[in-house]
């Protein structure tokens, strides 16, 4: 019995009487006394300190034999009187009675007082209200209650008494509370809408919705492929660069390279008619040190303005790397203080909002009341628009004195919504209506009437409206040239909000005149002058944000309409919002499903987020979170930013986080229920050691090149294994830091590699896009290619040829010659099996467990010797390889070429599809040995399985 259990039992039995009897040694002595000794009656019940009667009663002098007369106890009368003495009899009874009394009435302290009561006397809530107990038990109950309360107090802090719910929900207080909660993480404008419907996470300093609380996987896919899916991408950071065109380009060309695709300077993008995307590198470091992908948009050149304006949109995980790099490239070190003190800080400074002195009895008209408040200069607790986490004094603008470039951080200044799907243009067409012209002669605080006075502005607006009307008629969003930009000024979309949710349908009028315009639009895109928008102007943005009519105001105006339920007319004070529509290209690479997942991005000035969000939702779009944007890029076979950029700092950070998270979930399972990855031959189930893989293949390729000629393939595999052994031993000896791995982004090389990967007798050759240019796959071509791209990995798409669902971190392996022979015979063949590996660490862990169980203090001294062992058992986890991994490439029976970063059953293809990286050297090495008709056939194995499946490798350019 454990100590605690014994203690418990002792506590319980404290009041119970022990048997009254004598051990053999003191029977005689007691018999002499004839049971009349006074102390005899003391029973175990009364003697809490002396649990046993026997011990207590053993007289200390009387062990062994005693000779001679003893005075103390009158010891020699062995004769007990034959008759009963009343006193002794009575005393014995009395002692027993009191012992029994104690046992029967006193409680063991573990139980509540009221358990002493019979059932029919128990009352509800006795444990809370002691007055419900009989009076005789109250004292004890009170004592116990105090005791338990004190114990509770120690653990729990006393809760701060909060205001009543009604007070908390009052608008001003609610806003203050929201503002407090936004101080750590930025809230998007649609946060509250999302928080009611989505699982939220705190990521990259924002609160973002991951996925809806309702089931959405297939509906979202269906929306993406047939209707429209909406996402709030306002968390993307916008960085504005202003300056002379040549100076800007000179600075920015350091960050990019033409080899990896069109850069900032490409004519198409520079005009401002298209949005471009590019991978940014650290200045002048092209093949290595990438930062991440950005999209950018030039402002179309206006005749009057010479300095150009450029917006660079970057993922928030990338911003902290990108912004310093841009500053150093543009030599912008001079921070400019923010010009206006934001009102938010003042509102937060005085938490009690006495902002509204007595507006209600003074004025009834809401519009005037608002202005009145402004005149009084007392801003109420105001909604935070934009970045609430930033200090109001921290700079957002940097200027360079030498080049004149100004960098402006527009994070959260512009709202960006993404609509994905072929019908996204019809949703936009139904939601947005081009702004109605208002001709008012007197000057007003709103920007639109002022603009209406200018004839050229009106002409531009008319052109943009025409283009927008033509846009309604196209069949699918994917038909437009990728990256098309359309500037527009629209009415407040709340005015045309439908009463019920409707599903936006494509417009079907097929006019002959429109047909021509439509073709023009589809072929050439939006004319250049229509790409201009007033969203680029900061003053207009601020004016629009400030003059937004609140929801409350809007409803009041609706209620004052003459005919209830009719539409509000666009008056002068209703806002006109400049927006930018940016076409988002769908799947651009690969042969199948061209332009799948294309759509539009809607750029709005801040503050108007919800005003556009709800009307969009009312057009029957489906809203998705981060989860779906990952799936979207996966179906497009495009790398998704932090996940699939392992060479970028943000990507490696993400990988570490992901590994820690996976490891945490793995360790939470009971050891017997965990997958033993060692037995599955999976070295790194939670991360991909790209660096190690690239290094190993590098060494293998240089060593293997010499031996290639004489060896057959089966020997080769074994050879490579031996080589790997050497490699690992070499690595441990000479740990010089080799160059880090790179991801191959050179378009020419990618095209070449892509043509090599295609099987010769397959359909792919007929397309002949790369085949005409490509060199045939030969030893010399491979060596030269390899020399150019050492230590690099390449982004590939793998399509499963049979069933199977690839998972993340699955291994991409090279098939042996026998595998290929089998595959050639029956393509439906499921693929080879990996023989199970042996877990050598298991015994060590078990041993450690055993030793720790039996460990005594003397054994602890042995531990230092044990910890000198490289894999000391303390950091071993059952089922995972300890940290210095053995050779990753040749650990299994088939050599590993790379890993999968994203894999799932693809709903668009109807088959398992995986995306990942493979080592270039490994891939070339494998391709050379494959028969031409089976070129590009590889094996894929999930980390939790021993089964290899055949996959077709595609490199999409």
């Amino acid at each position: 019995m454990s100590a605690a259990k014994a203690k418990m039992r002792e506590k319980k039995m404290r009041n119970q009487p022990a048997s009254v009897q004598y051990t053999s040694s003191d029977v005689e002595s007691r018999a002499e006394n004839g049971g009349e000794g006074d102390d005899v009656r003391v029973t175990g019940g009364q003697s809490d300190a002396h649990p046993s009667w026997k011990k207590q009663q053993t007289p200390p002098v009387r062990h062994g034999w005693v000779r001679g007369h003893h005075n103390g106890d009158g010891g020699y009368d062995t004769e007990m009187p034959n008759h009963i003495t009343a006193g002794a009899f009575a005393r014995a009874r009395a002692a027993e009675v009191s012992a029994m009394l104690k046992a029967a009435t006193e409680l063991t302290c573990s139980s509540h007082v009221f358990r002493a009561l019979p059932k029919h006397m128990r009352r509800r809530a006795m444990s809370h209200n002691t007055k419900r107990l009989p009076r005789r038990l109250r004292n004890m109950a009170n004592r116990m209650r105090e005791k338990s309360l004190q114990a509770g107090l120690k653990k729990k802090k006393e809760l701060v008494k909060s205001k009543s719910r009604k007070a908390r929900r009052r608008h001003g207080n609610l806003l203050l509370e929201f503002n407090r909660r936004q101080r750590k993480n930025i809230w998007l404008e649609t946060h509250i809408w999302h928080a009611k419907r989505f699982h939220m996470v705190k990521k990259w300093g924002y609160c973002l919705g991951v996925r809806p609380t309702y089931k959405c996987y297939r509906p979202c896919y269906r929306a993406m492929s047939s209707h429209c899916l909406l996402q709030d991408l306002s968390y993307y950071c916008c960085i504005e660069l202003k300056g002379e065109e040549d100076k800007l380009l000179a600075a920015l060309t350091q960050l990019t390279c033409k080899e990896a695709g069109p850069t900032f300077a490409a004519a198409m993008f520079l005009s401002g008619a298209r949005q471009g995307s590019v991978t940014v590198y650290r200045a002048g470091q092209y093949p290595s040190d990438p930062l991440g992908p950005v999209t950018f948009l030039w402002r179309p050149q206006t005749p009057g303005l010479t300095p150009r304006q450029l917006w660079i949109w970057a993922h928030p995980a990338l911003k902290q790397d990108l912004l310093p790099e841009l500053q150093s490239v543009c030599q912008c070190s001079e921070a400019m203080a923010p010009p206006v003190e934001p009102e938010v800080s003042r509102a937060e400074a005085d938490p009690a909002p006495q902002a509204e002195p007595n507006p209600d009895n003074e004025l009834k008209a809401g519009a005037k009341r608002k202005r009145c408040c402004k005149d009084a200069g007392e801003p109420p607790a105001k909604r935070i628009l934009g970045d609430g986490t930033r200090l109001p004094t921290s700079p957002v603008t940097w200027r360079s004195s030498s080049t004149g470039i100004v960098i402006n951080d527009l994070t959260m200044e512009i709202v960006r919504y993404r609509l994905i799907g072929p019908q996204s243009h019809s949703v936009l067409a139904e939601t947005l209506e081009a702004a109605t012209v208002c001709d008012e002669l007197k000057s007003s605080p709103f920007w639109w009437p002022e603009h209406c006075k200018d004839r050229s502005n009106m002409k531009l607006h008319q052109q943009q409206t025409d283009v927008f009307n033509v846009l309604k008629g196209i069949y699918s969003s994917g038909e437009l040239p990728p990256g098309t930009v359309l500037g527009l000024t629209v009415d407040d979309p709340r005015l045309t909000l439908p009463r019920q949710k409707v599903k936006a349908a494509p417009c079907v009028n097929q006019d002959q005149g429109d047909e021509e315009k439509r073709n023009q639009l589809m072929l050439k895109g939006v004319p250049l002058q229509c790409c201009q928008s007033f969203l680029w102007e900061q003053s207009v943005r601020e004016n629009v944000t400030d003059n937004k009519i609140s929801e409350q105001e809007m409803n009041r105006m609706r209620s004052e309409l003459l005919v209830p339920g009719s539409r509000l007319g666009p008056g002068p004070q209703q806002g006109r919002v400049p927006v930018l529509l940016v076409h988002q290209p769908g799947k651009q690479v690969g042969d199948e499903l061209g332009s799948w997942g294309s759509g539009w991005d809607l750029l709005l000035p801040k503050g108007w987020g919800m005003a556009f969000w709800v009307p969009l939702v009312y057009r029957g779009v489906r809203v998705a979170g981060l989860h779906m944007s990952l799936k979207h890029s996966q179906d497009k076979a495009a790398p998704h930013f932090p996940h699939d950029y392992p060479d970028c700092p943000a990507g490696s950070r993400f990988q570490e986080e992901q590994e820690a998270e996976f490891l945490e979930t793995f360790r939470r399972r009971p050891p017997a229920k965990r997958t033993n990855y060692i037995k599955h031959g999976c070295l790194a189930p939670f991360r991909c050691p790209w660096q190690q893989l690239a290094e190993e293949w590098e060494l293998l390729a240089t060593d293997g090149g010499a031996e290639r000629k004489g060896d057959g393939q089966t020997q080769k595999a074994r050879k490579s294994h031996e080589v790997m052994e050497e490699v690992t031993s070499q690595q441990t000896v000479a740990a010089a830091s080799p160059p880090s791995f790179t991801v191959l982004r050179n378009r020419k090389s990618l095209r070449l590699l892509s043509s090599w990967c295609r099987p010769l007798t397959c359909r792919g050759q007929r397309r002949g896009r790369g085949a005409a240019v490509a060199l045939p796959l030969s030893d010399s071509a491979v060596t030269s290619f390899h020399a150019a791209h050492k230590m690099s990995v390449v982004w590939v798409r793998l399509t499963l040829l049979s069933k199977g669902k690839p998972e993340a971190h699955a291994m991409v392996c090279a098939p042996t010659a026998e595998d290929l022979k089998l595959f050639g015979k029956s393509p439906e063949n499921c693929g080879p099996q990996e023989p199970p590996h042996k877990d050598h660490y298991k015994s060590r862990i078990n041993h450690k467990k055993k030793s720790s169980k039996t460990a005594t203090p003397s054994q602890v001294s042995d531990d230092p010797t044990a910890s000198t062992d490289p894999h000391s058992p303390s950091d071993l986890i059952l089922g995972l390889w300890p940290d210095p991994l053995p050779s990753v490439a040749s650990h299994c029976s088939r050599v590993t070429l790379g890993w999968v970063t994203q894999g799932d059953f693809s709903l668009s293809v109807g088959r398992g599809e995986a995306l990942g990286f493979v080592s270039v050297s490994g891939l070339l090495h494998t391709l050379l040995r494959q028969p031409p008709e089976l070129r590009g056939t590889l094996l894929l194995r999930n980390p939790t399985s021993l089964h290899y499946r055949f996959v077709r490798l595609n490199i999409d350019v």
């Binding site: 009487p17 022990a18 048997s19 009254v20 009897q21 004598y22 051990t23 053999s24 029977v27 007691r30 018999a31 004839g34 049971g35 005899v40 009656r41 007990m80 034959n82 009963i84 003495t85 009343a86 006193g87 009899f89 009575a90 005393r91 014995a92 009874r93 009395a94 002692a95 027993e96 009675v97 009191s98 029994m100 009394l101 104690k102 046992a103 029967a104 009435t105 006193e106 005789r136 004292n139 004890m140």
Partner: protein
């Protein structure tokens, strides 16, 4: 509630010589009960007696013993108790017989019964004794059979009420 149910027999051991009482111990009592059951009911009885049988309490001065039996078979085992004529303890054979005073479902009811039984005995003794000295001793004993302490007045009340009921 859900629990293992037992029957507790409150028995009195009657001996011819009072001095022999002090030599008893619980193991000897248990042994003799088992032997008696085996003798009267054979192997079946012996087996039943091995289920949850134990001597919960033995007072060597008053000769009170609590026997616990399984509830399912206590009647059978009980029927063997009259056949105990002697208890062998420490090499000595003590002639005795068991007299069952009470059968209870819990040990607590047995204790309560014992309290009542003993106090009644003492009260009955009191008027019979003529010797002043002994009478005083008995009175002392009666007074002493209550728990001392402030919180137990109520218990005394309870006890008194019980006594009243008995009379």
């Amino acid at each position: 509630m859900v629990r293992v149910k037992s029957r507790y027999l409150l028995c009195e051991i009657n001996v011819s010589d009072r001095r022999d009482l002090l030599k008893l111990d619980d193991r000897a009592v248990a042994g003799s009960v088992k032997a008696a059951v085996a003798r009267t009911h054979g192997d079946y009885g012996a087996a039943l007696c091995s289920i949850r049988f134990c001597v919960k309490y033995l007072n060597a001065h008053t000769g009170i013993v609590f026997l616990r039996f399984h509830k399912g078979c206590y009647k059978l085992l009980w029927s063997a108790l009259p056949f105990i004529t002697s208890i062998e303890c420490r090499g000595q054979i003590i002639p005795c017989f068991l007299n069952c005073l009470h059968v209870g479902g819990t040990i607590r009811t047995c204790q309560k019964f014992l309290i009542r039984y003993n106090t009644r005995q003492l009260h009955q003794m009191l008027p019979k004794y003529k010797n002043k000295e002994e009478k005083r001793k008995i009175q002392e004993a009666i007074l002493s059979c209550s728990l001392t302490g402030g919180g137990n007045k109520a218990l005394e009340d309870e006890l008194e009420s019980e006594e009243e009921d008995d009379e």
